[in-house]
Symmetry: C2
């Protein structure tokens, strides 16, 4: 949250070095460390209990069984990533979108260290300080740290139950056009499945409408305006829900769509592998940047995922975690119904790892608020919603929301944590 302590060596830092702030997540982790018996409804990490241990053990023992195969598994790969993983990934994408594999060429894919690294490199490739990215209000807060570090401005677009408001997007674009700032707008960043933090899934129709709208402003912008579809939570769907297709399905806008997702969240976060799918000219640029970052994601990790996907262990695991997170989400919703005042608004999720709570506006939830501090004192940590709102100079930051995660907490911790928060809310709101 604070800048590095100023000392004489600060004067040598680059603009980026001077700008880059500590991410809110490290502040949250420090709070957690200071309170060891804390119930954490804050961390977006996955559930230790769902980590595919026997599956991974079996895969590794097979990968390393023959010396010659093991040698290649433990050797460098390439900057774009292992070809079999790129093929397996684009095949999966085509299948999820009910399209033919031929329409999803693996040449447009790059394997990265989680989707986070892809987002970082994409931002490097497209944005200079002073540029603008349109984000959702609220959005994935770790991406906001990347933007802040690169000196990028944000414009926030209101969220509805089916995704971002097209009307509000149009207003924001018009305002940017009128003030002559449209040339600074590089892309719209949208977390389209079980959004972190709201749990909202954007409908296919909205994605296409957003793409249409962006295209209609391109002439004034003087360059393409991309739509970045962050599908990191796409595979954390609850059993009964059928997530919509990605915007990749729509051929007309394919050259304006950048899609990213990850295997870390659904499979195992200790195996950091994500990917980005993007139009070829941009793919070339991002791949060069990847070459400079690290010449390619660790080959061993990629080979684990190839084996998991090709053997259907991955698919079976998805079904298992879908059921497990669904049970925990239901436990949290039930506890909320039981313990929270009725004036607290909740969006029930269909997947992902968190539930968004909107409190009456007079209840502030920020890290310095009485409510946050009292929750912490009583042993419950949540993510203050304001972390997930960009610094958009054109609107005040909403301050009365909470992100409640059921990712790593147990059912009884969820129940206990929600009960404590509920009692604090009743004290402040009444019924």
């Amino acid at each position: 949250m604070s800048r590095p302590r100023s000392d004489k060596s600060d004067s040598i830092l680059s603009s980026l070095g001077k700008r880059t702030e500590a991410p809110p997540i490290s502040w949250l982790m420090n709070e957690a460390l200071k309170h060891p018996n804390l119930i954490s409804l804050a961390d977006g990490i996955t559930d230790n209990k769902t980590i595919p241990v026997p599956e991974t053990r079996e895969i590794l023992s097979q990968l390393l069984a023959s010396p010659s195969k093991a040698q290649s598994v433990l050797q460098y790969g390439t900057a774009a990533g292992e070809e079999r993983l790129r093929e397996a990934t684009t095949s999966r994408l085509a299948r999820l979108d009910s399209e033919s594999k031929d329409d999803y060429p693996a040449d447009n894919l790059i394997i990265t260290n989680g989707s986070q690294q892809f987002l970082y490199m994409l931002t490097e490739a497209l944005c200079d300080p002073g540029d603008i990215i349109i984000v959702e209000d609220p959005t994935y807060f770790v991406y906001l740290s990347i933007m802040q570090s690169h000196g990028i401005e944000a414009r926030g677009v209101r969220m509805e139950s089916t995704g971002l408001s097209i009307q509000d997007l149009e207003q924001k674009l018009n305002a940017l056009a009128e003030s002559g700032q449209l040339h600074r707008v590089k892309f719209l960043y949208s977390v389209t499945y079980f959004q972190n933090p709201t749990g909202i899934t954007t409908s296919y129709e909205k994605k296409i409408k957003a793409l249409e709208l962006l295209r209609s402003f391109e002439k004034k912008a003087g360059h393409p305006i991309y739509y970045v579809e962050d599908a990191a939570y796409r595979e954390l769907s609850f059993p009964e829900f059928s997530p919509p297709a990605s915007a990749l399905k729509h051929r007309e806008y394919r050259n304006r769509l950048i899609y990213t997702s990850t295997y870390s969240k659904p499979y195992a976060t200790g195996i950091r592998v994500g990917f980005g799918y993007l139009p070829k000219p941009l793919h070339t640029v991002v791949m060069r940047i990847k070459g400079n970052h690290d010449f390619g994601t660790a080959h061993l990790l990629q080979q684990i995922l190839v084996a998991a996907i090709e053997s259907d262990k991955y698919e079976a695991h998805l079904a298992k975690i879908g059921r497990s997170y669904h049970r925990k989400a239901m436990a949290m919703l039930k506890a909320i119904q039981q313990y929270f005042p009725k004036s607290v608004q909740i969006i029930p999720p269909n997947g992902g790892l968190c539930i968004w709570a909107i409190l009456p506006q007079r209840i502030k939830t920020g890290p310095k608020s009485g409510f946050f501090k009292e929750s912490l004192r009583q042993g419950v940590l949540f993510v203050p919603g304001e972390f997930a709102f960009a610094n958009d100079p054109t609107r005040p930051k909403p301050g009365s929301t909470m992100r409640l995660s059921y990712g790593s907490a147990t059912k009884s911790q969820i129940q206990e944590g929600i009960k404590i928060l509920g009692s604090l809310l009743h004290d402040r709101i009444g019924n």
Copy 2:
């Protein structure tokens, strides 16, 4: 080598996106792919045969044996890296420098995706476009791509058999001071052990002299000037050689020294783990940048190395590869003696993966030279030495050198490859 093909989507790229060129290494790899029966004396990768397969199999089977341990191994780590690996790494560093562990606090260490990612983030933290980094002539060519991408200028310092020329360094610094450019100089980048590409090891005395010299220019620069000691090849020492201490040993300059190395080259390149050790205020900045890149290197990979180091498997492996690369280096030197004209200068290495050959100036070795093309036609690939020279506007780029690697080639390939090159050299030089 070439910029991305210009099309309408180029106009949206950032300055970095527009600047970033394809690295020479991808061009080399393409050449290799076009000639499948090639003898490659070009790649700096390690020998498949030396990869520690049984060791890694045993480690992984132990790491994943107990479900609760396995769950933590397969879960997220932290941005700074696994504490046990940081402790094991700083203990090793202290031991290599014959110093007490207490003088090498693990808090100054960050674990990264190879030393490459560390160098990238350090450059981001310290350098703006137009800044200057002083490099060795020649230097590690992949680092030059990072500099190019960030719009950084280079000044090259002549190399001697004991490392960079202090006299030349002083001249370059004086010239920069006289032309009022010293404020643009952020650090000196030096590959201190078995340098890629020359194989030269910098003496401890020279490192300290360089640090003294840099400090004497700080007042004029208006900020610290760091010395970046890249020790990536330090542990690839031949059996009889005792590498000198790192500059970390000298307490007086500790706050100006940045040290980086890697476990990828000595252990397994498919397990991408490196590290950087740096003064605390800079450590904080680089750790924040790491949080934005990927929140931390894959935990599974770090745990493999913890186990390898703590069980002494790592140490035993180092002794093995030291002997193996020594045998191959000797085979290459013997072949060179037998087949190369006497006018070719060779620096015999004490470790690392390559031998540097300096030809008479009239023989050009660049990628477009007749000599390079004819070598390729006859089935031998080497790295044209000019790739390893920075674009220093103050001197012409030397064009008559070759980097010859014995990393991945077999002994008979080495012999055959050197014989072919020797015959081509005799045609051009005579004896």
